[in-house]
């Protein structure tokens, strides 16, 4: 019987950086890559943080909106997201939803346990996202190199999400306010996680940014 914590999809890329690890939401995740001072500097320029440990719940199906509503989930417009308490509710296109609990969120667990009556025709989607958080003054520079579409504030509006290609792979992007600052969230298939992580770091490091641990954003929570 294994009691080992879950592993972030980015683990194999992070290994060479020998981060200090912690377990959050049952997943082993980098807490710190470097001193708080260095990480803070990185974050001001371009911090890349792995938040794959947040619980996630994906669902689609014929009556998915009705089912979610009955389970007290706020329904955003297509390709939009809403924050519900400590959880993000993303509507990917028209008919697929991704719920992600932030540190204190409990929505995923509740949905996981909620009954899915057959008649509703809703189906849970097993996910394995590499989930990243980016911020800093050079984020747009980075995006301009890995993404062909405009992700500046005037184009990526609050409450909107974008499914696009980043560095050649499919990714979902949104901008959220976090502790009063703009942060960007990126989700991609976990098996591409290590590739995306390495690619982002290579570029970030050229502008004084780099990997930052969970503590850089979530000091109080840990």
């Amino acid at each position: 019987m294994t009691t080992a914590p879950q592993q972030t999809p980015v683990a194999s890329a992070q290994q060479r950086l020998s981060p200090k690890m912690t377990v959050a939401h049952g997943m082993e995740i980098p807490l710190e890559f470097s001193s708080a001072e260095i990480e803070h500097k990185r974050k001001v320029n371009l911090g890349v943080c792995d938040v794959s440990c947040f619980p996630r719940f994906g669902v689609k199906g014929r009556n998915v909106v009705q089912w979610l509503q009955e389970n007290k989930v706020d329904i955003p417009e297509p390709n939009s997201w809403v924050q519900q308490g400590e959880s993000l509710v993303l509507r990917l296109g028209n008919g697929e939803f991704l719920v992600e609990d932030q540190f204190e969120g409990k929505l995923c667990a509740a949905l996981d346990e909620a009954v899915m009556p057959e008649a509703y025709g809703v189906y849970k989607i097993r996910r394995n996202d590499a989930a990243l958080m980016l911020s800093g003054s050079h984020v747009q520079e980075l995006f301009s190199e890995i993404c062909a579409i405009d992700l500046r504030d005037g184009a990526l509006l609050p409450g909107k999400l974008v499914m696009t290609q980043m560095a050649g792979i499919s990714a979902t992007v949104l901008r959220q306010k976090f502790n009063g600052e703009d942060v960007f969230r990126i989700w991609c298939d976990g098996t591409y996680g290590s590739y995306l992580w390495d690619t982002l770091l290579e570029i970030a490091e050229e502008s004084g940014g780099g990997a930052v641990g969970l503590s850089c954003y979530y000091k109080e929570m840990l």
Partner: protein
């Protein structure tokens, strides 16, 4: 790079899409002749013109139809399959 408008995700560069060929009516396999079927499988309407085509937006996994002038490479409109009238 050309831009193409996915009816769900909006205007994107072509690199986000996969071309799925012209929309073609399948003859009834039970009643058509071998020759008709072979023509359906192999022959294409290769002359230029306004065509209905399948396109797939990769990052969101969305198939849709584009009506495109293959001579000018200009897209007149795009819509989800079967939702032509809603556009």
């Amino acid at each position: 790079m050309k831009l193409l408008k996915c009816p769900v995700n909006g205007e994107r560069p072509l690199s986000e899409f996969v071309f799925g060929g012209e929309v073609r009516e399948m003859p009834d396999p039970n009643t058509c002749s071998d020759q008709e079927w072979a023509a359906y499988v192999h022959y294409r309407n290769g002359a230029p013109g306004m065509k209905k085509e399948w396109w797939y937006h990769g990052p969101s996994g969305t198939w849709f139809i584009a009506e495109r002038d293959t001579m000018l490479d200009e897209v007149a409109r795009t819509y989800l399959y079967g939702q032509e009238e809603k556009q």
